[in-house]
Protein backbone atom coordinates (compact mmCIF):
# COMPACT_ATOMS: atom_id res chain seq x y z
CA UNK A 1 0.00 0.00 0.00
CA UNK A 2 1.46 3.33 -0.84
CA UNK A 3 1.62 6.28 1.55
CA UNK A 4 -1.21 8.26 -0.12
CA UNK A 5 -3.75 5.45 0.24
CA UNK A 6 -2.72 4.93 3.84
CA UNK A 7 -3.22 8.63 4.57
CA UNK A 8 -6.69 8.63 2.93
CA UNK A 9 -7.72 5.64 5.06
CA UNK A 10 -6.37 7.45 8.09
CA UNK A 11 -8.40 10.58 7.32
CA UNK A 12 -11.58 8.49 6.85
CA UNK A 13 -11.01 6.81 10.19
CA UNK A 14 -10.36 10.19 11.79
CA UNK A 15 -13.59 11.61 10.33
CA UNK A 16 -15.55 8.60 11.58
CA UNK A 17 -13.92 8.95 14.98
CA UNK A 18 -14.82 12.63 15.24
CA UNK A 19 -18.38 11.91 14.12
CA UNK A 20 -18.73 9.13 16.68
CA UNK A 21 -17.33 11.32 19.43
CA UNK A 22 -19.69 14.17 18.56
CA UNK A 23 -22.66 11.87 18.52
CA UNK A 24 -21.68 10.69 22.00
CA UNK A 25 -21.63 14.26 23.29
CA UNK A 26 -24.83 15.54 21.64
CA UNK A 27 -27.64 13.12 22.31
CA UNK A 28 -31.12 13.92 20.96
CA UNK A 29 -32.67 15.92 23.78
CA UNK A 30 -36.22 15.93 22.41
CA UNK A 31 -38.46 14.44 25.10
CA UNK A 32 -40.75 11.50 24.42
CA UNK A 33 -43.85 13.70 24.63
CA UNK A 34 -42.84 15.76 21.59
CA UNK A 35 -43.41 14.16 18.19
CA UNK A 36 -42.05 16.84 15.89
CA UNK A 37 -40.21 20.15 16.17
CA UNK A 38 -40.37 22.77 13.45
CA UNK A 39 -38.19 25.88 13.48
CA UNK A 40 -38.92 29.07 11.54
CA UNK A 41 -35.77 31.22 11.22
CA UNK A 42 -33.56 28.73 13.02
CA UNK A 43 -30.92 30.59 15.09
CA UNK A 44 -27.34 29.19 15.28
CA UNK A 45 -27.68 27.91 18.85
CA UNK A 46 -31.03 26.23 18.27
CA UNK A 47 -29.85 22.97 19.88
CA UNK A 48 -29.04 24.73 23.14
CA UNK A 49 -32.35 26.62 23.06
CA UNK A 50 -34.25 23.37 22.50
CA UNK A 51 -32.47 21.73 25.41
CA UNK A 52 -33.54 24.61 27.67
CA UNK A 53 -37.02 24.65 26.16
CA UNK A 54 -37.80 21.06 27.14
CA UNK A 55 -37.34 21.95 30.81
CA UNK A 56 -39.71 24.92 30.47
CA UNK A 57 -42.67 23.59 28.50
CA UNK A 58 -44.80 20.54 29.01
CA UNK A 59 -48.18 19.41 27.64
CA UNK A 60 -51.17 18.94 29.94
CA UNK A 61 -52.05 15.25 30.21
CA UNK A 62 -51.34 14.68 26.54
CA UNK A 63 -48.43 14.82 24.07
CA UNK A 64 -47.38 17.57 21.73
CA UNK A 65 -47.77 16.46 18.15
CA UNK A 66 -45.95 19.51 16.80
CA UNK A 67 -43.88 22.20 18.47
CA UNK A 68 -43.47 25.18 16.16
CA UNK A 69 -40.74 27.61 17.19
CA UNK A 70 -40.27 31.00 15.57
CA UNK A 71 -37.53 33.46 16.49
CA UNK A 72 -37.10 37.18 16.14
CA UNK A 73 -33.93 39.07 17.00
CA UNK A 74 -34.55 42.22 19.06
CA UNK A 75 -32.28 44.65 20.93
CA UNK A 76 -33.06 42.76 24.16
CA UNK A 77 -32.17 39.37 22.77
CA UNK A 78 -33.83 36.62 20.83
CA UNK A 79 -37.61 36.59 21.12
CA UNK A 80 -39.11 33.13 20.70
CA UNK A 81 -42.71 32.17 20.11
CA UNK A 82 -43.51 28.54 20.70
CA UNK A 83 -46.84 27.19 19.47
CA UNK A 84 -47.51 23.61 20.46
CA UNK A 85 -50.38 21.48 19.19
CA UNK A 86 -51.79 18.18 20.29
CA UNK A 87 -53.85 15.51 18.53
CA UNK A 88 -56.35 15.50 21.38
CA UNK A 89 -57.52 19.09 21.01
CA UNK A 90 -57.80 21.72 18.29
CA UNK A 91 -56.61 24.42 20.68
CA UNK A 92 -52.98 25.41 21.12
CA UNK A 93 -50.43 26.12 23.80
CA UNK A 94 -48.58 29.38 23.12
CA UNK A 95 -45.41 30.34 24.99
CA UNK A 96 -43.36 33.54 24.61
CA UNK A 97 -39.69 33.44 25.64
CA UNK A 98 -36.67 35.75 25.64
CA UNK A 99 -33.27 34.13 25.14
CA UNK A 100 -30.18 36.12 26.14
CA UNK A 101 -27.64 33.56 24.93
CA UNK A 102 -27.59 31.75 28.26
CA UNK A 103 -31.03 31.49 29.75
CA UNK A 104 -34.56 31.17 28.50
CA UNK A 105 -37.03 33.48 30.21
CA UNK A 106 -40.75 32.76 29.92
CA UNK A 107 -42.38 36.15 29.29
CA UNK A 108 -45.93 35.04 28.60
CA UNK A 109 -48.15 32.07 27.92
CA UNK A 110 -51.63 31.14 26.82
CA UNK A 111 -52.18 27.43 27.26
CA UNK A 112 -55.43 26.03 25.92
CA UNK A 113 -54.30 22.63 24.57
CA UNK A 114 -56.26 20.68 27.14
CA UNK A 115 -57.85 17.36 26.12
CA UNK A 116 -61.62 17.70 26.04
CA UNK A 117 -62.32 15.38 28.98
CA UNK A 118 -60.16 17.51 31.30
CA UNK A 119 -61.57 20.70 29.81
CA UNK A 120 -65.15 19.56 30.33
CA UNK A 121 -64.29 18.31 33.78
CA UNK A 122 -62.87 21.73 34.75
CA UNK A 123 -66.04 23.44 33.51
CA UNK A 124 -68.16 21.00 35.50
CA UNK A 125 -66.12 21.78 38.65
CA UNK A 126 -66.43 25.52 38.01
CA UNK A 127 -70.19 25.50 37.54
CA UNK A 128 -70.50 23.21 40.55
CA UNK A 129 -69.57 26.32 42.53
CA UNK A 130 -72.80 28.17 43.20
CA UNK A 131 -71.27 31.64 43.11
CA UNK A 132 -69.88 30.92 39.67
CA UNK A 133 -73.00 29.15 38.47
CA UNK A 134 -75.25 32.05 39.44
CA UNK A 135 -73.07 34.46 37.48
CA UNK A 136 -72.66 32.48 34.30
CA UNK A 137 -75.90 30.56 33.83
CA UNK A 138 -76.65 30.50 30.14
CA UNK A 139 -73.56 32.53 29.31
CA UNK A 140 -72.25 30.06 26.76
CA UNK A 141 -69.07 28.05 26.76
CA UNK A 142 -66.09 29.44 28.66
CA UNK A 143 -62.40 29.38 27.84
CA UNK A 144 -60.32 26.88 29.82
CA UNK A 145 -56.66 27.77 30.26
CA UNK A 146 -53.83 26.12 32.08
CA UNK A 147 -52.15 28.23 34.74
CA UNK A 148 -48.55 27.29 35.45
CA UNK A 149 -47.34 26.72 39.02
CA UNK A 150 -45.15 29.83 38.95
CA UNK A 151 -48.31 31.92 38.48
CA UNK A 152 -50.64 29.80 40.62
CA UNK A 153 -48.46 30.08 43.69
CA UNK A 154 -49.44 33.75 43.93
CA UNK A 155 -53.11 32.79 44.15
CA UNK A 156 -53.23 29.35 45.77
CA UNK A 157 -50.30 26.91 45.61
CA UNK A 158 -47.39 26.18 43.26
CA UNK A 159 -49.23 23.65 41.13
CA UNK A 160 -50.91 23.45 37.76
CA UNK A 161 -54.41 24.94 37.91
CA UNK A 162 -57.09 25.56 35.31
CA UNK A 163 -58.76 28.91 34.74
CA UNK A 164 -62.35 28.62 33.54
CA UNK A 165 -63.45 32.02 32.27
CA UNK A 166 -66.70 33.47 30.99
CA UNK A 167 -67.02 37.13 30.15
CA UNK A 168 -66.42 38.96 33.40
CA UNK A 169 -66.31 35.84 35.58
CA UNK A 170 -63.52 33.37 36.13
CA UNK A 171 -63.00 30.36 38.38
CA UNK A 172 -59.55 29.13 39.29
CA UNK A 173 -59.87 25.35 39.53
CA UNK A 174 -57.60 22.87 41.26
CA UNK A 175 -58.19 19.77 39.10
CA UNK A 176 -56.53 17.41 41.60
CA UNK A 177 -58.66 18.53 44.53
CA UNK A 178 -61.64 19.20 42.26
CA UNK A 179 -62.35 22.53 43.89
CA UNK A 180 -62.72 26.15 42.86
CA UNK A 181 -59.95 27.89 44.78
CA UNK A 182 -60.69 31.46 43.72
CA UNK A 183 -63.42 33.33 41.90
CA UNK A 184 -62.84 36.56 39.99
CA UNK A 185 -65.52 38.96 38.80
CA UNK A 186 -64.82 41.94 36.57
CA UNK A 187 -64.91 45.15 38.52
CA UNK A 188 -64.12 43.51 41.87
CA UNK A 189 -60.74 44.35 43.44
CA UNK A 190 -59.38 40.83 43.38
CA UNK A 191 -60.38 37.20 43.29
CA UNK A 192 -62.31 35.93 46.28
CA UNK A 193 -60.46 33.13 48.02
CA UNK A 194 -62.59 30.05 48.56
Amino acid sequence: MNTKITLVIGIIILTLGIGLSLSQKQPDVKPSWVQQVLWQDKPPDNAKIEELLWTEITPYRTEYEMVNISSDTTSEGLRLKVVATSKETDKQDIYDFMYDGKELLLTGYLLEAIPSQYRNDAIAIAIGNQEVAASVAGAGAPTVRRILPKTSERFYAPKTLLSVTWEGVSALVDPDERTVVQVWKAGAQQGAKK
Binding site: T6, D96, N120, G140, R154, D176
Partner: protein, 418 residues
Protein backbone atom coordinates in the same frame (compact mmCIF):
# COMPACT_ATOMS: atom_id res chain seq x y z
CA UNK B 1 3.25 -0.10 4.21
CA UNK B 2 5.50 2.81 5.01
CA UNK B 3 6.63 2.99 8.59
CA UNK B 4 5.46 6.61 8.91
CA UNK B 5 2.03 5.92 7.48
CA UNK B 6 1.51 3.10 9.97
CA UNK B 7 2.46 5.43 12.82
CA UNK B 8 -0.04 8.09 11.61
CA UNK B 9 -2.87 5.52 11.41
CA UNK B 10 -2.02 4.16 14.85
CA UNK B 11 -2.12 7.70 16.33
CA UNK B 12 -5.44 8.47 14.62
CA UNK B 13 -7.10 5.24 15.77
CA UNK B 14 -5.77 5.77 19.28
CA UNK B 15 -7.05 9.36 19.21
CA UNK B 16 -10.51 8.20 18.19
CA UNK B 17 -10.80 5.71 21.05
CA UNK B 18 -9.36 8.22 23.48
CA UNK B 19 -12.16 10.64 22.53
CA UNK B 20 -14.84 8.04 23.18
CA UNK B 21 -13.20 6.93 26.37
CA UNK B 22 -13.01 10.52 27.55
CA UNK B 23 -16.81 10.66 27.44
CA UNK B 24 -17.04 7.50 29.47
CA UNK B 25 -14.64 8.84 32.02
CA UNK B 26 -16.82 11.93 32.40
CA UNK B 27 -19.82 9.69 33.03
CA UNK B 28 -17.85 7.64 35.49
CA UNK B 29 -16.91 10.83 37.30
CA UNK B 30 -20.58 11.72 37.49
CA UNK B 31 -21.22 8.42 39.17
CA UNK B 32 -18.40 9.04 41.64
CA UNK B 33 -19.91 12.41 42.52
CA UNK B 34 -23.29 10.78 42.95
CA UNK B 35 -21.92 8.39 45.52
CA UNK B 36 -20.52 11.08 47.79
CA UNK B 37 -22.36 11.13 51.08
CA UNK B 38 -22.39 14.82 51.87
CA UNK B 39 -23.57 16.82 54.83
CA UNK B 40 -26.77 18.75 54.22
CA UNK B 41 -26.90 22.53 54.19
CA UNK B 42 -27.94 24.01 57.52
CA UNK B 43 -31.30 25.80 57.63
CA UNK B 44 -31.26 29.39 56.54
CA UNK B 45 -31.78 31.53 59.61
CA UNK B 46 -32.51 34.58 57.57
CA UNK B 47 -33.94 34.98 54.13
CA UNK B 48 -30.69 36.60 52.98
CA UNK B 49 -28.67 33.41 53.62
CA UNK B 50 -30.35 31.34 50.95
CA UNK B 51 -28.03 29.10 48.98
CA UNK B 52 -28.16 30.06 45.31
CA UNK B 53 -29.10 26.94 43.42
CA UNK B 54 -31.46 26.52 40.50
CA UNK B 55 -33.87 23.64 40.10
CA UNK B 56 -35.07 22.87 36.60
CA UNK B 57 -37.82 22.01 36.03
CA UNK B 58 -39.43 23.16 39.26
CA UNK B 59 -42.73 21.36 38.84
CA UNK B 60 -44.04 18.08 37.51
CA UNK B 61 -47.10 15.91 37.42
CA UNK B 62 -47.25 12.15 37.18
CA UNK B 63 -50.52 10.57 36.15
CA UNK B 64 -50.12 6.87 36.57
CA UNK B 65 -52.24 3.78 36.74
CA UNK B 66 -51.55 1.12 39.38
CA UNK B 67 -48.57 -0.96 38.21
CA UNK B 68 -47.08 1.88 36.14
CA UNK B 69 -43.91 3.86 36.74
CA UNK B 70 -42.45 7.09 35.41
CA UNK B 71 -39.21 9.03 35.72
CA UNK B 72 -38.28 12.67 35.44
CA UNK B 73 -34.82 14.20 35.43
CA UNK B 74 -34.30 17.33 37.48
CA UNK B 75 -31.14 19.40 37.11
CA UNK B 76 -29.69 21.29 40.06
CA UNK B 77 -27.32 24.10 39.11
CA UNK B 78 -25.00 25.56 41.72
CA UNK B 79 -24.77 29.33 41.32
CA UNK B 80 -22.59 29.78 44.41
CA UNK B 81 -18.84 30.36 44.33
CA UNK B 82 -18.35 27.34 46.58
CA UNK B 83 -19.33 23.69 46.29
CA UNK B 84 -22.78 22.88 47.61
CA UNK B 85 -23.94 19.59 49.09
CA UNK B 86 -27.49 18.52 48.37
CA UNK B 87 -29.47 15.56 49.64
CA UNK B 88 -32.97 15.00 48.24
CA UNK B 89 -35.68 14.39 50.78
CA UNK B 90 -39.18 13.27 49.78
CA UNK B 91 -41.87 15.23 51.61
CA UNK B 92 -45.47 14.13 51.19
CA UNK B 93 -48.04 16.84 51.67
CA UNK B 94 -51.24 15.33 53.02
CA UNK B 95 -53.60 17.77 51.28
CA UNK B 96 -56.81 16.20 50.11
CA UNK B 97 -56.64 13.10 52.30
CA UNK B 98 -54.97 10.77 49.81
CA UNK B 99 -51.30 10.07 50.27
CA UNK B 100 -48.89 8.13 48.16
CA UNK B 101 -46.47 5.90 50.05
CA UNK B 102 -43.00 7.47 50.36
CA UNK B 103 -41.59 4.08 49.32
CA UNK B 104 -43.10 4.55 45.84
CA UNK B 105 -40.78 7.47 45.16
CA UNK B 106 -37.04 7.09 44.63
CA UNK B 107 -34.49 9.78 43.88
CA UNK B 108 -31.06 8.98 42.49
CA UNK B 109 -28.37 9.80 43.40
CA UNK B 110 -29.13 9.95 47.11
CA UNK B 111 -26.86 12.97 47.57
CA UNK B 112 -24.28 14.97 45.68
CA UNK B 113 -21.57 17.59 46.04
CA UNK B 114 -22.01 20.12 43.26
CA UNK B 115 -18.92 22.19 42.50
CA UNK B 116 -19.18 25.97 42.13
CA UNK B 117 -20.90 26.74 38.83
CA UNK B 118 -21.56 23.04 38.22
CA UNK B 119 -24.74 21.04 37.92
CA UNK B 120 -26.07 17.64 38.88
CA UNK B 121 -28.93 15.66 37.41
CA UNK B 122 -31.27 13.74 39.72
CA UNK B 123 -33.69 11.10 38.52
CA UNK B 124 -37.02 11.02 40.33
CA UNK B 125 -38.97 7.85 39.80
CA UNK B 126 -42.49 7.00 40.93
CA UNK B 127 -43.53 3.33 40.93
CA UNK B 128 -47.16 2.65 41.74
CA UNK B 129 -47.92 -0.82 43.11
CA UNK B 130 -50.51 -2.87 41.29
CA UNK B 131 -52.84 -2.86 44.29
CA UNK B 132 -52.69 0.91 44.90
CA UNK B 133 -55.99 2.68 45.33
CA UNK B 134 -56.82 5.70 43.18
CA UNK B 135 -56.28 9.27 44.34
CA UNK B 136 -54.06 12.30 43.98
CA UNK B 137 -51.25 13.43 46.24
CA UNK B 138 -48.89 16.42 46.36
CA UNK B 139 -45.18 15.96 47.08
CA UNK B 140 -41.99 17.92 47.33
CA UNK B 141 -38.46 16.73 46.77
CA UNK B 142 -36.48 19.08 49.02
CA UNK B 143 -32.84 19.20 47.96
CA UNK B 144 -31.68 21.12 51.01
CA UNK B 145 -33.35 21.60 54.36
CA UNK B 146 -33.38 25.37 54.01
CA UNK B 147 -36.84 26.70 54.70
CA UNK B 148 -38.54 30.07 54.38
CA UNK B 149 -38.57 31.52 57.91
CA UNK B 150 -42.06 32.37 59.12
CA UNK B 151 -43.13 34.27 62.24
CA UNK B 152 -45.62 31.52 63.11
CA UNK B 153 -45.24 27.75 63.19
CA UNK B 154 -46.23 26.10 59.91
CA UNK B 155 -47.83 22.65 59.62
CA UNK B 156 -45.20 21.76 57.00
CA UNK B 157 -41.81 23.37 56.40
CA UNK B 158 -41.78 25.59 53.33
CA UNK B 159 -38.67 24.29 51.61
CA UNK B 160 -36.84 26.75 49.37
CA UNK B 161 -35.01 24.29 47.13
CA UNK B 162 -37.79 21.89 46.31
CA UNK B 163 -39.11 20.21 43.19
CA UNK B 164 -42.90 20.26 43.50
CA UNK B 165 -44.89 17.53 41.94
CA UNK B 166 -48.12 15.65 42.18
CA UNK B 167 -48.89 12.01 41.64
CA UNK B 168 -52.33 11.18 40.36
CA UNK B 169 -53.09 7.48 40.60
CA UNK B 170 -56.01 6.70 38.36
CA UNK B 171 -57.76 3.96 36.51
CA UNK B 172 -59.63 4.59 33.30
CA UNK B 173 -63.29 4.47 34.26
CA UNK B 174 -65.03 1.62 32.52
CA UNK B 175 -68.14 3.74 32.17
CA UNK B 176 -67.40 6.89 30.18
CA UNK B 177 -69.65 9.91 30.55
CA UNK B 178 -69.64 11.70 27.22
CA UNK B 179 -70.53 15.12 28.70
CA UNK B 180 -70.11 15.86 32.42
CA UNK B 181 -72.22 19.02 32.39
CA UNK B 182 -75.34 20.55 30.87
CA UNK B 183 -75.36 24.34 30.78
CA UNK B 184 -78.20 26.05 28.99
CA UNK B 185 -80.54 28.97 28.78
CA UNK B 186 -84.18 27.90 29.10
CA UNK B 187 -87.36 29.75 28.37
CA UNK B 188 -90.16 29.86 30.95
CA UNK B 189 -93.16 27.71 30.00
CA UNK B 190 -91.21 25.43 27.65
CA UNK B 191 -89.92 21.86 27.86
CA UNK B 192 -86.47 20.55 27.03
CA UNK B 193 -84.86 17.16 26.57
CA UNK B 194 -81.23 16.23 27.10
CA UNK B 195 -79.30 12.99 26.85
CA UNK B 196 -76.28 11.96 28.84
CA UNK B 197 -74.60 9.24 26.81
CA UNK B 198 -72.74 6.55 28.74
CA UNK B 199 -70.33 4.10 27.15
CA UNK B 200 -69.29 0.91 28.91
CA UNK B 201 -65.77 -0.03 27.78
CA UNK B 202 -65.51 -2.92 30.24
CA UNK B 203 -66.34 -6.57 29.80
CA UNK B 204 -69.14 -6.65 32.34
CA UNK B 205 -72.42 -4.78 32.70
CA UNK B 206 -72.26 -1.79 35.04
CA UNK B 207 -75.23 -0.78 37.16
CA UNK B 208 -76.41 2.81 37.39
CA UNK B 209 -79.06 4.52 39.51
CA UNK B 210 -79.20 8.22 38.59
CA UNK B 211 -80.80 10.67 40.95
CA UNK B 212 -80.92 14.43 41.32
CA UNK B 213 -78.36 15.92 43.72
CA UNK B 214 -79.82 17.30 46.93
CA UNK B 215 -77.24 19.81 48.17
CA UNK B 216 -78.39 23.06 49.72
CA UNK B 217 -79.89 24.71 46.69
CA UNK B 218 -80.19 28.30 47.90
CA UNK B 219 -77.50 30.50 46.46
CA UNK B 220 -76.51 34.08 45.93
CA UNK B 221 -77.25 35.36 42.48
CA UNK B 222 -77.20 38.89 41.06
CA UNK B 223 -80.38 39.65 43.07
CA UNK B 224 -79.22 38.20 46.41
CA UNK B 225 -80.16 34.86 47.96
CA UNK B 226 -82.65 33.06 45.76
CA UNK B 227 -84.52 29.82 45.75
CA UNK B 228 -83.73 27.65 42.74
CA UNK B 229 -85.81 28.42 39.67
CA UNK B 230 -86.69 24.73 39.21
CA UNK B 231 -87.94 22.23 41.74
CA UNK B 232 -87.18 18.51 41.74
CA UNK B 233 -90.48 17.69 40.07
CA UNK B 234 -89.49 19.90 37.10
CA UNK B 235 -86.73 17.44 36.19
CA UNK B 236 -87.50 13.87 35.23
CA UNK B 237 -84.76 11.28 34.77
CA UNK B 238 -85.30 8.15 32.70
CA UNK B 239 -82.46 5.65 32.65
CA UNK B 240 -81.66 1.96 32.21
CA UNK B 241 -80.64 0.10 35.36
CA UNK B 242 -77.35 -0.97 33.80
CA UNK B 243 -75.19 -0.45 30.73
CA UNK B 244 -74.24 -3.69 29.01
CA UNK B 245 -70.56 -4.51 28.33
CA UNK B 246 -69.36 -2.67 25.22
CA UNK B 247 -72.66 -0.80 24.83
CA UNK B 248 -73.55 2.88 24.73
CA UNK B 249 -76.81 3.96 26.31
CA UNK B 250 -78.34 7.22 27.44
CA UNK B 251 -79.77 8.72 30.57
CA UNK B 252 -82.61 10.98 29.45
CA UNK B 253 -83.37 14.23 31.22
CA UNK B 254 -86.66 16.02 30.67
CA UNK B 255 -86.94 19.56 32.00
CA UNK B 256 -90.35 21.19 32.26
CA UNK B 257 -89.90 24.88 33.00
CA UNK B 258 -92.92 26.39 34.79
CA UNK B 259 -94.43 29.42 33.05
CA UNK B 260 -93.69 31.61 36.10
CA UNK B 261 -90.12 30.35 36.63
CA UNK B 262 -87.39 32.98 36.94
CA UNK B 263 -83.74 32.90 37.95
CA UNK B 264 -81.22 30.10 38.05
CA UNK B 265 -80.93 26.42 38.74
CA UNK B 266 -77.64 24.83 39.67
CA UNK B 267 -77.50 21.20 40.67
CA UNK B 268 -76.23 17.84 39.54
CA UNK B 269 -77.29 14.35 38.65
CA UNK B 270 -75.49 11.64 40.56
CA UNK B 271 -75.40 8.77 38.09
CA UNK B 272 -74.86 6.21 40.88
CA UNK B 273 -72.29 4.27 38.86
CA UNK B 274 -71.41 0.92 40.39
CA UNK B 275 -67.69 0.98 39.49
CA UNK B 276 -64.89 1.40 42.08
CA UNK B 277 -62.66 3.15 39.52
CA UNK B 278 -65.11 6.05 39.43
CA UNK B 279 -64.55 8.58 42.19
CA UNK B 280 -67.71 9.98 43.81
CA UNK B 281 -67.56 13.29 41.94
CA UNK B 282 -66.67 11.64 38.64
CA UNK B 283 -70.07 10.03 38.46
CA UNK B 284 -71.85 13.38 38.46
CA UNK B 285 -73.27 15.50 35.69
CA UNK B 286 -73.48 19.16 36.60
CA UNK B 287 -76.68 21.03 35.69
CA UNK B 288 -76.68 24.77 35.20
CA UNK B 289 -79.74 26.52 33.83
CA UNK B 290 -80.63 30.16 33.41
CA UNK B 291 -84.36 30.62 33.14
CA UNK B 292 -84.95 33.34 30.65
CA UNK B 293 -88.18 35.04 29.79
CA UNK B 294 -88.22 35.94 26.14
CA UNK B 295 -89.89 39.36 25.76
CA UNK B 296 -93.08 39.11 23.75
CA UNK B 297 -93.37 42.79 22.90
CA UNK B 298 -90.76 44.68 20.92
CA UNK B 299 -88.64 47.57 22.13
CA UNK B 300 -89.96 50.75 20.41
CA UNK B 301 -88.10 54.02 19.68
CA UNK B 302 -89.81 56.97 17.95
CA UNK B 303 -88.08 59.65 15.94
CA UNK B 304 -88.94 62.43 13.46
CA UNK B 305 -87.84 63.11 9.93
CA UNK B 306 -88.09 66.71 8.74
CA UNK B 307 -87.19 65.94 5.15
CA UNK B 308 -86.89 62.89 2.91
CA UNK B 309 -83.65 61.04 3.56
CA UNK B 310 -82.35 57.49 3.67
CA UNK B 311 -82.62 55.85 7.12
CA UNK B 312 -79.97 53.38 8.30
CA UNK B 313 -80.68 51.30 11.41
CA UNK B 314 -77.92 49.29 13.05
CA UNK B 315 -78.75 46.73 15.75
CA UNK B 316 -76.04 44.76 17.55
CA UNK B 317 -76.13 42.04 20.18
CA UNK B 318 -74.17 42.25 23.40
CA UNK B 319 -70.75 40.75 23.15
CA UNK B 320 -71.33 37.15 23.74
CA UNK B 321 -68.51 35.04 24.88
CA UNK B 322 -68.20 32.12 22.50
CA UNK B 323 -71.92 32.14 22.95
CA UNK B 324 -74.77 29.79 22.53
CA UNK B 325 -73.64 27.99 19.38
CA UNK B 326 -71.00 26.31 21.55
CA UNK B 327 -73.23 25.64 24.53
CA UNK B 328 -74.02 22.04 25.23
CA UNK B 329 -77.77 22.29 25.57
CA UNK B 330 -80.30 21.76 22.84
CA UNK B 331 -81.31 25.41 23.22
CA UNK B 332 -78.12 26.63 21.55
CA UNK B 333 -78.84 29.57 19.26
CA UNK B 334 -77.11 32.66 17.93
CA UNK B 335 -78.59 36.08 18.69
CA UNK B 336 -81.11 37.46 16.21
CA UNK B 337 -83.50 40.43 15.89
CA UNK B 338 -87.01 40.96 14.54
CA UNK B 339 -86.79 44.57 13.40
CA UNK B 340 -89.43 46.77 11.77
CA UNK B 341 -89.72 50.45 10.88
CA UNK B 342 -93.03 52.20 10.57
CA UNK B 343 -93.36 55.66 8.97
CA UNK B 344 -96.10 58.04 7.82
CA UNK B 345 -96.93 55.70 4.97
CA UNK B 346 -97.11 52.56 7.15
CA UNK B 347 -94.52 49.78 7.41
CA UNK B 348 -91.40 50.64 5.41
CA UNK B 349 -89.67 47.96 3.39
CA UNK B 350 -86.58 47.25 5.50
CA UNK B 351 -83.77 45.46 3.74
CA UNK B 352 -80.81 43.92 5.53
CA UNK B 353 -77.95 45.95 4.16
CA UNK B 354 -75.22 43.93 5.86
CA UNK B 355 -74.59 41.56 8.73
CA UNK B 356 -71.31 41.89 10.57
CA UNK B 357 -69.76 39.43 12.97
CA UNK B 358 -67.51 41.59 15.05
CA UNK B 359 -64.78 40.10 17.25
CA UNK B 360 -63.08 41.56 20.25
CA UNK B 361 -59.41 40.70 20.53
CA UNK B 362 -57.92 41.33 23.94
CA UNK B 363 -54.26 41.72 24.82
CA UNK B 364 -54.42 42.72 28.44
CA UNK B 365 -57.83 44.13 29.27
CA UNK B 366 -60.24 42.96 31.91
CA UNK B 367 -59.22 39.45 32.78
CA UNK B 368 -58.66 37.38 35.90
CA UNK B 369 -55.34 38.14 37.62
CA UNK B 370 -54.16 34.55 37.16
CA UNK B 371 -54.40 34.99 33.38
CA UNK B 372 -52.17 38.08 33.34
CA UNK B 373 -49.28 36.05 31.91
CA UNK B 374 -51.29 35.75 28.70
CA UNK B 375 -51.19 39.55 28.19
CA UNK B 376 -49.66 40.41 24.79
CA UNK B 377 -50.90 37.15 23.26
CA UNK B 378 -53.91 37.65 21.00
CA UNK B 379 -57.16 36.24 22.33
CA UNK B 380 -60.65 36.57 20.99
CA UNK B 381 -62.77 37.62 23.94
CA UNK B 382 -66.18 37.63 22.39
CA UNK B 383 -68.25 37.88 19.25
CA UNK B 384 -70.93 40.44 18.46
CA UNK B 385 -73.60 40.20 15.75
CA UNK B 386 -74.36 43.50 14.02
CA UNK B 387 -77.24 43.82 11.54
CA UNK B 388 -77.66 46.95 9.41
CA UNK B 389 -80.98 47.78 7.71
CA UNK B 390 -81.73 50.52 5.17
CA UNK B 391 -84.87 52.20 3.86
CA UNK B 392 -85.92 55.46 2.18
CA UNK B 393 -87.45 57.83 4.70
CA UNK B 394 -90.16 60.45 4.13
CA UNK B 395 -90.90 63.41 6.45
CA UNK B 396 -92.99 62.60 9.52
CA UNK B 397 -93.15 60.42 12.65
CA UNK B 398 -91.23 57.11 12.53
CA UNK B 399 -91.18 54.16 14.92
CA UNK B 400 -88.37 51.58 15.20
CA UNK B 401 -89.36 48.22 16.78
CA UNK B 402 -86.79 45.61 17.78
CA UNK B 403 -87.62 42.22 19.27
CA UNK B 404 -84.36 40.55 20.31
CA UNK B 405 -83.86 36.80 20.59
CA UNK B 406 -81.05 34.90 22.33
CA UNK B 407 -79.35 37.97 23.66
CA UNK B 408 -79.73 39.64 27.00
CA UNK B 409 -79.14 43.12 25.62
CA UNK B 410 -78.55 45.03 22.40
CA UNK B 411 -77.36 48.36 21.02
CA UNK B 412 -79.06 50.29 18.24
CA UNK B 413 -78.34 53.36 16.14
CA UNK B 414 -80.53 55.31 13.72
CA UNK B 415 -78.68 57.29 11.04
CA UNK B 416 -80.67 59.79 9.00
CA UNK B 417 -79.17 60.80 5.65
CA UNK B 418 -75.81 59.93 4.17
Amino acid sequence: MSKYASIVIAILVLGMFTGIEAGNVAQAQDVVVQEVGAPVMPPADQIGNITKIDISPQYGNFRLQPGESKEITVTIRNKEKNAVSVKPNTVILPYGGYMVDAGWITVKPGSADIPAGGSQKFTIKAEIPKDASIGSSSLQIAFTNETIPTPYPQPFPNYIHAFQFSVDVWMPPKLQIMMPYISDQLEAGKEYDYEIKLKNTGDQAIGISPKLGSDDMYYGGPYGMMAPALTEDSITITAPTSIAAGATDAVKIHVRVPADAKGYYNGYIDLGIDDPSVREWEGRVQLNFNIWTQPTGAFVRSFNLTEAAPITVEVSSNNYYYGYPYAKGTNAKAPSFETSLEGPGGKAPLTVNKTVIRGNVNMGGDRPPWEMDSASIYQEMGVQYVVTYKTDGTPGEWKLSVLPRNTQGFDYSITIGG
